[in-house]
Amino acid sequence: MAHDNSYTGQKFEVVGNRFLRPDGIDKVTGKARYGADANAPGQLVGLVLRSPHAHAKIKKIDTSKAEKLPGVKAVITSDDLPDLTGGNAGNAHILENCMARGRALYDGHAVAAVAAVDRQTARQALKLIKVSYQKLPHVTDVDEAMAPDAPVIHDWCFTAGLEEKPTKPSNIANRTQMGHGDVDAGFAAADVIIEKSYKTEQTHQGYIEPHACLASVNPDGTSELWVTTQGPFSYRSVCAALLGLDIAKLKVTSSEIGGGFGGKTHVWTEPLALALSRKANRPVKLVMTRDEVFRATGPTASTSVDVKIGATRKGKITAATLELRYQGGAFPGPWAMLACMTGFACYNIENQRSVGWDVIVNRPKVAAYRAPSAPMAAYAVESTMDLVADAIGMDAVDFRLKNVAKEGTQAPYGPIYGPIGIEAALKAVKKHPHMKSRLKKGQGRGVACGFWFNIGGQTCVDLNIGTDGTVNLAVGTVDVGGARSSLAMIAAEELGVGYDDVKVHVADTSSLGHNDTTEGSRGTFSSGMAAIFAARDAIEVLKGRAAKMLDVPVEDIVWEHGEARATGKGHGNLPKLSLKEIAAKSPNTGGPIAGHNEVVADGAGMGFAAHICDLEVDQETGHTEILRYTVVQDAGKAINPDYVEGQFQGAAAQGIGWALNEEYIYGKDGRLQNPGFLDYRIPVCSDLPFIDTKILEIPNPTHPYGIRGVGETSIVPPLGAIGNAIANATGVRMNHVPMSPVRVLDALDQAAQYEEQVSAG
């Protein structure tokens, strides 16, 4: 690639300001169109029938009565989705997750779907489908699923990553090991060793907009899919593969997206909507209910983790190990592997080992959730870090700083870090006024750190300049949190035009080349990089046109502050030409002016954060109230600080919900007991204080503006920060997340009983 993506340290005029988001008016007036807001002539209503059993053989599905109901236009089962995946295991699992194939693998697994003229008819049709199930033994707990006597969910699952290939199938899909150094020697050198186990329950991304799409398939294979998604291009390739469509004939348009957080990176009902439309030859709108969203889409893993950390009395960590058991739902996933890579990422630990076990259970297929897998490992590590600091009598922040990862530290997954921001974040925490504020009796303060890789990936943008000098920037990453504002600022910065002169829009899959999914905090990082290069491309064109207008050689033209200027002998009297002037003449100087860029935006900068939390525990009810919360995170470069703060605050709020309340509760029957926002309680406005933020800017050397991703990292520290604060408030160490009132009360009672025994004994 001709463009150099290394950091230039340039001075900014537009970047770094708090401009208003361009999609604001549509969103405050109700005009913005989300997944469920599109309609097509002749559209049908699609609904999905789901398994009420955790694990069952599907003996027979009788759809005849439903098909005969007037107004029903299509009924589908897995028979309508033949396996075209051709040995691609990933796609085969997605296909089976979209609709059960002979076996229901979890409560909520789709078994059939209908399309009818209206909602009432579709609902009636679902009731007329008769499914004969034969219940099979199930397991939903990660530790139980690993036990030798656990019911084995898939007879094809043989643990990968073991030195000797197993002879029998099990629920353990994969073993991963990461680390370096000599762990045994390290522990031998330790003065203090703390070993502890933790559990975290399953949580959901909890985006407020349920999955929704409008699908239309013609008999000739040309198809359209309007859908709420983080990855229209990935939805296109997966849907095309599952349905046997040509990629170019399937146009996917991403609607405004009502939250995703990783949950909208994978297809769920979209292939079903396409299959229904193909069968009925009518457009089908399929909107999930909240119950379906909880039972059948995207949760994160529930986990069970053992940590062991050894340190000298002087506070140097000599060795550390992690054993991580993560369930990925009914299919194998990379979740424990990711945890192995992130658990100790904030620290410089010479001797470390992380072993991960990816486990299959009868729960929905786990999807990425904001810094996937990192929060649970960090909860275990950060809790134990406080215990070690306590045992050696050192301040918890000082202990972290003493062992903090820096440029040159080896990451748990191998490579040596470049410039990173965790030391700066911890130092900023130490200096923050929050740390000096007084706490009352019964209140506690906790600090914790977090890491996320951030990713780049395939990216492509088009930049077109109109004859009035205003600019269209078409991007293929979805705007999940204000990226259109940041990208407009970046294009304006490069071109030397005003923010309001650039209009960014998210293109459909037929209008732009492939873009990877908007995940891994990559939106502004990668589309920003592509926008810079596309603008520089356009500037070369603008210079050429200016040369023609001034009748000088193009080599004599320089571009400064949005203007072309001729340099050199004899050009002193020539006028400067603004972008607007050049654009106005473009029809007669060679036609439209555009810039393009296709790039693999590799080299994402790692994200690090440190959080401070004050809270109070009600000893009567076990309820925890967050009193004050501060996020410190390295952004590399904050393009629009408003939306960087927004990412920090939103991620922290999700982490707080995870730490205190949110959990999937399964009954003994393997069915989800709380698939609704009443019983799965995400934080509401009255649960939270203002969330203070501090943006650090340690440039990422592999981005021209120094940008790192900012979206995910701050969901990582809250679990540990809150656990530590509860311990400091009550003297009780919580080892099970969420630290809900009932668990906190139990822990307080147990501690009180223990005290009584000790004093009585």
């Binding site: 990968a160 990461m178 592997m337 997954y413 490579p415 951030n454 693999v600």
Partner: protein
Amino acid sequence: MHSTRQRNTKNRSVQVSLNGALRSGAGGAASIDIEAATIAELLTKLAERYPDMSTHLEKGIAVAINGTVYRDDWTQKIPQGAEVFLMPRIEGG
């Protein structure tokens, strides 16, 4: 394949460290020496030498060169003496 090696007069052998499940694909080795000037060349040779690794390579991997993680750009050059890590490909939320 061998002609590319001849173009380079210097020995382009790099030490590649393996992590996670990739290790078992290479018979348990923590690091291997391989001659490669680019990521693409490295991956081709790995697949030739360790057929067991091909499933991992197909599933998706990333290559870290001197601390920078490359997930997709296989044209990336590997400088002499570079620190090279092969690791599983990550995704995000």
